[in-house]
């Protein structure tokens, strides 16, 4: 997939356009360590870039040169930074810039510089770019539904430019495709707590609890909804503890242990007495043996607090 339609990879030294520029070799010193055996095209491109960068030439040919350098090493943040300076100086068409980024997005979906550059461009384009941006991110997520950069970018777009209306539905859709997708659960939390259209966590809690409990019952071994449930009751532990729906859902999957746990309840008003908690830690020490030392530590902390 070659987007270098401007210069087709021809050596710069043979191009008339670059005749006036003396390429600047890298100052690696006489005995560099971690030296890379650059291919000739790479070395030459970067030699010309160094010359242009040093001269701070913000011209159309400089713009083309940064594109060439980016293709060869999309991780070169200096080149991206300089590209931004050139784009500004030339008052370039940023929609075209988005198109350029789109073309290289798939093969660079995990590149910090690309996403940061996208953010810079979209920030300048403003609300008009919103729909296109949210759409592009959807496309990237359809290939890898957990791409960290894509999700961070999506959150930034929503906060900077809006577009919250359909976001909960989008989370729903992703969770229907893969209920184990923790990024989608995280996004759900983000929307529920921050969307200006939903009224905040407390307002959404009841419906979210219902949704989450359903997800737990469908796959009790899925860690996501359990943590999400705790998140719904952040700073309000009492409400979590006193909600009978919660305690019943906690006990449902543990058939073998439910009777012993219920039997350990000292009274209805103090369902989480230290004895019960410690008994649970004992059970977990055996059932979740990978984390045995953690459960022992938890149990010890309980006995310290109880004293």
């Amino acid at each position: 997939m070659d987007s270098r339609e401007d210069d087709g990879g021809e050596p710069l030294s043979r191009m008339a356009e670059w005749r006036d520029v003396t390429p600047l070799p890298q100052d690696d010193g006489p005995n560099p360590v971690v030296p890379i055996a650059y291919k000739e095209e790479f070395r030459e491109t970067m030699d010309y870039f160094r010359a242009i960068y040093k001269a701070d030439e913000r011209s159309p040919r400089a713009l083309r040169l940064t594109r060439r350098a980016i293709h060869l090493n999309p991780g070169n943040y200096t080149v991206w930074h300089f590209r931004r300076l050139v784009l500004e100086a030339l008052n370039a068409d940023l929609d075209e810039e988005l198109d350029f980024l789109q073309r290289i997005a798939n093969s660079n979906s995990k590149n910090y510089q690309l996403w940061h550059h996208r953010r810079w461009v979209v920030d300048r384009l403003g609300a008009n770019a919103r729909a296109k941006e949210l759409n592009l991110i959807k496309k990237i997520l359809s290939i890898d539904a957990k791409n960290y950069h894509a999700w961070s970018h999506r959150q930034w777009v929503l906060q900077a430019l809006g577009g919250w209306e359909d976001e909960l539905d989008y989370c729903q859709q992703l969770l229907e495709e893969d209920i184990f997708n923790n990024s989608a659960w995280n996004q759900r939390y983000f929307v529920v707590t921050r969307s200006p259209y939903l009224g905040g966590l407390k307002a959404m809690r009841a419906s979210e609890v219902r949704y989450t409990v359903e997800a737990i019952l469908a796959n009790p071994n899925n860690e996501c909804p359990w943590r999400y449930l705790q998140g719904l009751y952040k700073d309000d532990i009492k409400a979590l503890v006193n909600d009978p729906e919660i305690s019943s859902v906690c006990l449902k999957p543990c058939h073998e242990f439910r009777d012993s746990v219920v039997a350990l309840r000292t009274s209805d008003t103090d369902p989480l007495g230290p004895d019960l908690s410690m008994a649970i830690c004992d059970i977990l020490e055996h059932v979740d043996s990978l984390r045995a030392s953690y459960w022992i530590w938890r149990k010890n902390k309980l006995s310290v607090a109880a004293v």
Binding site: N73, G75, H81, N111, R119, W151, Q155, N181, C224, R227
Partner: protein
């Protein structure tokens, strides 16, 4: 049992990796004892060969790391130091010279000569020089200019930008604070509001994200926790929910995943495993801290996630007292109720002797993953079976292994008991300083150098 086709992507991917790991373990358990011993052996010579080769020459495909060369230096030098090996004095000199060429005229280190300075490559360069040690390496760092660079990268939000006009995230905070601390140039200007920024990145899951709102992630959790400790604000975090999150990141394969329901990766042996090394210290020195209910859990701190606002992974895709040994006196003072913690303070006045703690994670299981699944017998370590070795994974798998071997020790300096080390005792690696991830005696060398000057 559902048919393979009705499984979600997460389930499918996980099953495939699990199967590969279990195949390896099954094969291992069926081997005769002598072969088992061999499989558990750390291939020191081969690793050193792989690493040293990288220091002297890299193929053309490495051009994608052309803006990360100090990182390659650090991954290699740190790994060699962990293996308690040394680099030729000539190569050492060449490294010091090369890194000097990466040092910008206005401070900080870039990804290569002639590039812009960047916080991550600054971190890598400083750690490399600290690892090399000695006056020549350490004095090559222009601290005054570096301090100016850090001040320039500081953002109003409290966070730091990775480079001029660059991205702000928890990695940037860590790399800046870590370097400032190591070089003894940490001050109020650099520290202010960093704690607020990181706090806003602790998620409902308990882990820490790269930016406020993003998903809890091992790399960022390590960075966030280490930074909070360095700036002495660690008790503002909800440590019990952080601990609970990270404990559940260890999978059936023995290794760690970076995020909930994602795949195991050898590099998280350090990013997640290192968190336990940090927590271990916090949990033991908490004795001198005033206890509200439990160990600061539910202490009434505003949760970061609900107060709205108040960026490969480790991959190529990170008050003067606070910095170094300033609080030596505090640990010995039983009446001190300040929560000031210098994590690696080894108080020789407290006769802890060979006090042992139980690690909160399964150290042997992680060691088994590293040695049997991550190690390549020809040299180098990798993410998981089926992936190729690289210097980054070699560095972080070995760093994680070092943490594992010493996870029962309260005192980092004591030699571990043989049962703490999976495989032959010769597998033992050098101890690290878990806040900076440099070998401990190199840290002390730098500490001495930078407190003198």
């Amino acid at each position: 049992m559902e048919s393979f086709r009705s499984l979600t992507v997460t389930q499918r991917d996980q099953i495939l990796v699990e199967q590969q790991a279990f195949d390896i373990f099954k094969t291992f358990y069926n081997l005769p004892p002598s072969s088992q011993s061999f499989m558990l052996e750390l291939q020191r010579e081969n690793h050193v060969e792989y690493l040293t080769k990288g220091l002297t020459g890299l193929g053309p495909s490495f051009c994608v790391l052309d803006a990360n060369r100090p990182w390659i230096c650090y991954w290699i030098l740190h790994s060699i130091a962990l293996l308690d090996e040394f680099v030729d004095p000539e190569l050492e000199d060449n490294t010091i010279d090369f890194l000097s060429r990466c040092q910008g005229p206005n401070g900080g280190y870039a990804g290569g000569p002639g590039q812009m300075p960047h916080l991550a490559t600054t971190y890598a360069a400083v750690n490399s020089l600290v690892t090399l040690g000695g006056d020549k390496a350490l004095s090559s760092i222009n601290r005054e200019k570096l301090y100016m660079f850090l001040r320039q990268m500081k953002d109003a939000s409290g966070g730091f930008r990775m480079h001029d006009g660059g991205e702000i995230d928890v990695r940037a905070c860590y790399t800046a604070i870590s370097v400032a601390s190591l070089l003894n140039i940490l001050d109020d200007e650099l520290v202010q509001n960093v704690g607020n920024y990181i706090l806003s990145c602790q998620t409902y899951e308990g882990g820490i994200s790269g930016e406020p709102g993003s998903e809890a992630h091992g790399g960022y959790t390590f960075c966030g926790l280490a930074t909070m400790i360095l700036i002495n604000e660690v008790d503002r975090l909800d440590l019990s929910s952080l601990t609970d999150w990270v404990v559940f990141r260890q999978g059936v394969e023995g290794g760690f995943q970076g995020r909930t329901n994602k795949l195991v990766d050898g590099c998280y042996s350090f990013w997640q495993g290192g968190i336990f090394a940090l927590l271990k210290r916090l949990n033991s020195t908490k004795r001198v801290k005033p206890i509200p209910l439990g160990d600061g859990e539910g202490s009434g701190e505003e949760s970061p996630q609900t107060t709205a606002s108040s960026d490969a992974a480790g991959e190529e895709g990170l008050n003067e007292d606070l910095s170094l040994g300033g609080s030596h006196s505090e640990i010995g003072d039983q009446h001190n109720t300040s929560s000031q913690v210098n994590v690696i303070d080894i108080d020789h006045n407290h006769s802890k002797g060979h006090a042992n703690v139980e690690p909160l994670f399964n150290s042997l299981a992680l060691q088994q993953y590293i040695l049997l699944c991550s190690q390549e017998l020809n040299g180098g370590l990798r993410d998981k079976p089926g992936k190729s070795r690289d210097h980054y994974h070699t560095c972080y798998c070995l760093s994680g292994l070092s943490v594992c071997q010493r996870s029962w020790l309260e005192d980092e300096d004591s030699p571990p008991l043989p049962r703490a080390v999976l495989g032959p005792y010769s597998n033992l690696l050098e101890p690290i300083h878990p806040l900076y991830n440099v070998v401990l005696d190199r840290y002390w060398g730098a500490h001495e150098f930078f407190t003198k000057s």
